[in-house]
Each structure stands twice: as C-alpha cells, then as structure tokens.
C-alpha cells in the first residue's frame, strides 16, 4: 500500500508535465537571488562562444573589439556581431559536425558519419531541423574535414528516406533484438528522455507489486498467451511501463536488417533459441496499430517522422540540447542534466515560430541573458 501511495505521488506531478500547465512558480528564494547577482561579462562569454562555435580561442583583435567597447551597449553590439561572424565561419561547419556526432552519439566510421553530416548540414544551411525526421532525399551526405564542406549523398538502403529514422548507419549501429535499441535511440536522441516515454495520470493496478503507469491500455501490447515474450509480466518490474510505447514503435524499425538495409519482412531476431525472426504478434495483439504516442497512430515510417515532427517535445528537446551544449552542461539524458521548460520556453517558442532553424536558435542562445551573465 505504501508503495502505491509513493508511486501515485510521483506519477501525478510527472504526468502533469506532459502537455499541461505546470505547477505554479515557486516563491522567490535564495536561488533567485543568486541568479540576480550574476553580472554581464561579454569578454568571458566571447571566449566560450568562440570555443564552442569555432573550436578556437578568439583572436586578440576579437578580444579587443569587445574589451575596448566603451559601454555595455557597445560591448553587446560588438559581441553579437562576432557571434554572427562565428556562425558564418567555415570553422562553424567543423564544429557542427562534431556537435552532431555527440548529439546523435554516432560517427567515426564511414557508415555512421553520414548521419551527423546530415544533421550538421541541416544546421549550417539553416534548414528546418524537422528535416532530420522527414527529409526524403539527401540524408547521407559526406563531410570533408579538410575543406569543411558537404557532398550530397543518398542513403540507398532500399527504401525512401525518412530523415535519419531510416539512416542505414544508425540502424546498423543500433541493431538489436526486436529493434528495441533503435527505438531507444530515437527516444533518447530526439525526445530527450529515457523510457517510459509516457506516464498516465492515474496508475493502474495490474496485479503486480507496483502499478502500471503507461498511457496505452495494458492489453494493447503482446504477452502471454499471444507472443513469444511476455511484455505483460508483472512478477518483477512492470515491463509494460516501457514496452507499451516501445512495442508500438519498434515494428517500424524491424524491417531493417543488421546492415540497415530495408526488407519487406521483419529482419530482427527474438532472443529465443535459434534466434527466430520477430513477428508482429511478438509486439502487438491483432488489430493494434503502431503508434508514436497514445492517440497518435502511425502506419509507416513516414507517418512516424511526421508525427514526431508535430510533437512539441521534439522541438523542446532540440533546443534543450543546444542550451546544454552552449552552457557547457553534460548530456540531458546520459547525465540527467535537466533543462526545465521555464528556462527555455522563450527559446522554444522562437525556435518554432521561426521555422525550426537550429542555427538561428544557436544565435539566440549564445546572445541570451543567461549566456552572457556569470
């Protein structure tokens, strides 16, 4: 009983984070005072911005341009002009390739480097970030580190591209039983959270030691007696808390083999003797549709990319990743470096209203009040 009370207490406020108004702002406290005590230092900000955006220290002339400005407004103008200059520099291209490798946690092999090259190209060309989820061509460019340029490339893995969701290098690097590793990569990379992806407002008792907290109906995924893996097992943890989402997405990724090539049938195994190929009945019961989220059914990879692109969490995640990178904070998922919605709500709104251009978002972050105060 105690455990249920505890989980209900945890789940209720977490559920409130999902697309509903958050809790009221906490009263002014010591932490607000500390934030207010920060002072503007464009010189320090320039050094950090230069290292992040160009991978180099600012030149003495650049340092002087900011330091010799006679007042704060002139310093601000000089600083912002240099940020624009950095964003237009060929060295920014090099930095974006590295940023993209870390963003995607992919690279350093010819097969995988075309994925960060595509993301970097989208940023450098100031295209819509949503192209990484929806672009149908050109998703396998190559990056030349000597010239800091991209060469257009098509993935040619047997299917029309859907952004990076069908990237063969990504799919091969994340090949696994039931394609779950690919789904986890998608979730953590583009939605910035680990599974479980959705948490219901009201936990449901399903006969286990802890309640079921997914948003899909508990019986919407495969389990005994249908399916060879019992995702509805409740004897230890509640598998369905994560698998309610995992199983609704994974079938879309199961069509790609260990080299990332598309196959009409399923090409990922089930961890059973002789490693048989997975079947739809291993994921979902008959009649259940694949889906990005509860209430967002999708029938194919293009539908998934489109649904993800329409999800506010994807835009928030992209801005949060840029925010953490700019401020030198560790990874939002790996290191749980949280970025509360209130911290970046203006940045996210501008990102969306401005056409999802990540390079523009970087300019706004690097010139934001928080970035130039220490």
């Amino acid at each position: 009983m105690k455990r249920y009370f505890l989980l209900a207490g945890l789940v209720a406020p977490l559920g409130a984070c999902m697309g509903e108004p958050g809790p009221a702002a906490p009263p002014h406290d010591e932490w607000d005072d500390k934030l207010n005590d920060r002072v503007v230092d464009y010189g320090a900000a320039l050094r950090i911005a230069s290292l992040r955006l160009t991978g180099e220290l600012p030149t003495l002339a650049e340092i002087d341009a900011v330091a010799n400005a006679t007042d704060e407004a002139s310093q601000k103008a000089a600083y912002e002009a240099l940020i624009q200059q950095y964003l237009a520099s060929p060295k920014f291209t090099r930095q974006m390739f590295r940023f993209s490798q870390d963003f995607l946690r992919l690279g350093d092999t010819p097969e995988t480097d075309t994925a960060p090259a595509f993301l970097a190209q989208v940023i450098v060309d100031n295209r819509s970030y949503l192209d990484v989820l929806t672009a149908s061509t050109g998703t396998c460019p190559t990056y030349n580190a000597m010239t800091n340029t991209f060469t257009a490339g098509t993935c040619n893995n047997g299917t029309q591209a859907v952004g990076l969701l069908t990237h063969p290098g990504m799919l091969a690097a994340n090949f696994s039983n039931l394609a779950f590793r690919r789904v986890r990569w998608v979730q953590e990379t583009f939605a910035c959270s680990k599974f479980p992806a959705e948490i219901a407002k009201e936990p449901k008792d399903v006969g286990g030691a802890t309640p079921y907290t997914g948003t899909f109906p508990f019986d919407s995924i495969a389990g005994a007696p249908i399916g060879r893996v019992n995702f509805k097992d409740t004897s230890s943890v509640i598998c369905a808390n994560c698998h309610s989402n995992l199983n609704h997405i994974a079938p879309l990724f199961a069509h790609f083999d260990d080299k990332g090539l598309f196959t009409t049938g399923f090409s990922v195994p089930v961890p059973l003797p002789d490693n048989p190929m997975v079947a739809m009945s291993d994921y979902l019961p008959s009649g259940e549709s694949t889906a990005w989220r509860m209430g967002v059914p999708v029938t194919d990879m293009r539908g998934l990319g489109t649904a993800m692109a329409a999800d506010n969490a994807i835009a928030e995640c992209a801005v949060a990743r840029v925010w953490n990178w700019a401020l030198g904070r560790p990874d939002i998922v790996d290191a749980a470096a949280k970025v509360p919605g209130t911290t970046i709500e203006t940045q996210v709104a501008d990102f969306k209203s401005g056409g999802y251009h990540l390079r523009d978002a970087m300019y706004r972050v690097f010139t934001s009040d928080d970035f130039v105060r220490f």
Binding site: G9, L57, G341
Partner: protein, 198 residues
Amino acid sequence: MRYALLLLIAGCTTEIVDSTTTGHAEDPYTSLEREQREGPPRYTSRLHSCAKMRVATLGNVLASRGVNLAATQELSAGRMYRTSAVALGAANYPARTRENIELGVATASKIFDIYVQAAPEIIAAIPVRPECARNGQPAQLFDSSNHCVESGFSCLIGTRATPQHLAVCNETIKRANDPETGKQLAVALLAAAAHTCE
C-alpha cells in the same frame, strides 16, 4: 518522511522524466542530495558549467598558439596530446559513448602536463602568431625585464588579461629558480587555469 522527500524531487520539467517505476531510475536520494548541494534545476540550468575543453578544441587551441601537434619526441606536447585521447575523455561512438565533458582530476592533470610541455613552444610562437597580433603589432608574453605582458597573455587565455592575472604570472616567475623556468611555469599555469573550463 521518505514520501515527502520523493515528492519534493519529482519537480516538473519538460525533459527528464525518470520514474522509479522502471527500476532504471536514478536513486531519488542521490538526486535530492545533489539538488540541495547545487541548487534546483531552474537555477543550475541557467548557469555555465565548468565543462572540460573538448579534445579536438584543445588540439586547436594548442596548434593556434604554436604547438606542433605532429611532434614525435616522447615528451613533446604534441605527442602527449595525440596519445592521450582516452585520458582526455574522447568519445567512443562505436560503443555509443559521447565525449565526456565532466572534468576529473586525472584529465585535469593530463591537460596541465600538456601545457607544461607546450610552454616553450607557446613562448616562442605567440609573438609570430597572426591570431595574437594587435593593430598589426605582434603580441608579447614577457617584456625585457621578464615581466608578463597583457597582450600576450590575453591571447593565451582568450580574454582580456586582468592585473590579477599578470600579478599571479609575475609572482610565478619571481619565485622560480630562474626566469626561463618561471616563464614556462607561468605560461603553463595561466593556460591550464584559464582553460580548466571550456
């Protein structure tokens, strides 16, 4: 009490939604302790962290201040840099591991070692580096009296060197056994300190 603590840490964010229901979540007491020490996310998320300088960036900084990264001598800065990727926290993407930007003692020590070895090359190169020119004139790290000069150290640390920077620099030279050793120590010290955090 335990429930109250857990409820406290279940603060609402739009990004990280770890749940104790999965068995994969961070220990809530660790999370609570960290928040009490560092501040809540609404505070920490708006501050610069002290991120370790990325491996590639460190190489760029060294090269742009005159260090030969292709050097092959055993204790040369270039060789130390080239062979220290793991110690410097480089990424391992085939193992799905991002670059580690959290600064540990071992990594900081390695970076300082590199700057110590790099100091003679930096001292020789700063006056001829185009990045360090001011109004067409070369920057100097030291004047003829072995005092530290603002232009050279500004270029080394990437921001306008303050009187405090120069005081520490001069004191390091003064306390060394001889001026040349002091200059090398001063360059390594200022560079390592300034670039402790990217």
